[in-house]
Symmetry: none
DNA sequence: TTCGGCCTGTTACAAATATAACAGAATTCT
DNA sequence: AGAATTCTGTTATATTTGTAACAGGCCGAA
């Protein structure tokens, strides 16, 4: 009997998919089996993930035919077959670039760099998939709205993100304040807060009590809150108008804020576009001032 | 509590996917349910297609919790839930174009989020490809070496990265100093610098004169420099023992530090592994101190 | 602090699902 | 053409799997 390997039909890691294995054995099969095989491949892998009886029915074969064929394919039983099918699906759904590709060439795939990068890319994928673009746009407009004061709040670790956003929004618009919830001085800032003021709050685990209290007080005064948090969500999210939760798990004792950094930078980019003429004007002024202070070298 | 339907999160035929439905109800859920929900979304839809008990196990919840939640989502039972999941999968596989080319599903591919994410992922790939893992390891060891003082230096924008690295290395080892080159006080710090001291310097465009001067003086005193810079390389790189250059171009008026953030986080992860016992010890001490100050909520 | 309600997990049962054994139909070889 | 072999479907059984009822535990209110 003829036996050929489908070129390109195998997975990157060299293990044949179930579809491949079925294809390869197709010629060896009997009528009923072939009928069944085609039915499986028809809408692969969904049909194989249902109950055995259902599959037998759509293929118009008897129940034991399915069971027998699955065993002929080398599985212990139908559940075993399904389990591998699910594994396959899991691998497929995951970003094809992220996996199966070593990032830093020459580094063993177990190297921290690779592991970390894989995790971060994965985080980005999951995070972005869950974000509602409309809500994102809305948040950007709130941040861009110069008629309302803008407050940016960060905690111990997330302070870094807050400061980064502050640094840039400060250039884009007036009336921006950076508050560190770790500082005792934060209540002072709340004195002037009124209805409609906009708060951008960063809070990732471990969630900070100070940040929550600050959020509560701001909320009580009628301020609107935009929250950047992690997948488990800071308690602040109950007070927030809009919240974005990023995945932050990485192979490390700590979490990763790289994903949130990406969101923040995207937001900066979006905000600068809301009123580009104004932005441009302010940036040019800043350039002039830098030139005068001679703080920076000319860009070569 | 605020409740919004994700616009654009629906499938082409206008029916919400199960993932969407879960996402929408996320706020209404209890602890165990949320835990389960995340587990389902983690590798969707594969995990939901297995037996109920398996899903419960990976999510670390009890079997009935799964059954109950599925009913709360509006399904007659778990098999019903699985059936719809399979239908969804079938539909997904049939139009393979739509997926994976837009990150935030439902957002037009020209949306800032997508453009930005594409750019960042691209940056990560290019950056990682150029990094020599051996040099990276070497740098990590230098940072981990407790026998030598460690100085971390950042400029106006890169200060954010410097501070983030500082925040974590401070936990990992003693004798770490954070210097802001934008501050006038930096020359004071150099008084104590001697041969073999380690400097981690961040400098991205526009390169700062202060940072360069600081690097020159440190170098003159025999310090070793590790540099994080961008693809065009800060002039500091001529003085640096090891330098890492990240791609930072994004569709924005500014550059993106997300790639460099990833490198920094990888470095932190690597450093903590150099002497894990010591790291663990210091972290536990820190935890104790946090507990005493009651600054943070217990993680739920 | 104590009470009530709600969430969560353990146990027990019912239903479904998969496998094994058997018997009839189709096919092939002599 | 007839017998042997292989394939296929029906029935029966064992196992898995999902669901319902119950009870402990946690949190918030009084």
């Amino acid at each position: 009997m003829l036996f050929f390997i489908q070129a390109g039909a195998c997975m990157t890691d060299g293990i044949l998919t179930i579809a491949d294995r079925i294809h390869n054995k197709l010629d060896d099969m009997t009528r009923a089996e072939r009928q069944l095989a085609h039915s499986i491949l028809e809408n692969y892998p969904a049909s194989g993930l249902g109950p055995l009886a259902a599959l037998a029915k759509v293929a118009n074969v008897s129940v034991p035919t399915v069971a027998r064929m699955v065993q002929k394919l080398g599985f212990k039983g139908y559940p075993d077959f399904q389990a591998e099918l699910r594994e396959e699906l899991k691998a497929t759904v995951q970003n094809p670039i992220a996996k199966h590709d070593t990032w830093a060439e020459g580094a063993p795939s177990g190297h921290v760099l690779n592991q970390f990068t894989d995790a971060v890319i994965d985080n980005i994928r999951h995070t972005l998939a869950q974000i509602d673009p409309d809500k994102f746009d809305e948040a950007c407009e709130m941040v861009a709205d110069q008629s309302k004061p803008l407050y940016i709040v960060g905690g111990r670790v997330s302070h870094t993100l807050a400061e980064y956003l502050f640094l840039h929004t400060q250039i884009l618009r007036p009336n921006v304040t950076h508050i560190q919830s770790t500082s005792n001085a934060w209540p002072h800032y709340l004195l002037d807060v009124g209805p409609g003021d906009v708060f951008v709050i960063f809070d990732v685990r471990r969630y900070e009590n100070n940040t929550l209290k600050l959020a509560e007080m701001a909320h009580a005064r009628g301020a609107k809150i935009i929250l950047f948090t992690d997948q488990w969500r800071s308690p602040v999210h109950q007070l927030a108008e809009i919240s974005f939760s990023g995945r932050i798990v990485v192979p490390s004792a700590w979490d990763s804020v790289a994903t949130l950094m990406l969101l923040v930078e995207s937001m900066i980019a979006a905000v600068q576009n809301v009123d580009w003429d104004d932005t441009k004007d302010r940036m040019e002024q800043l350039e002039d001032m830098f030139d005068q202070t001679k703080l920076f070298r000319k860009f070569t």
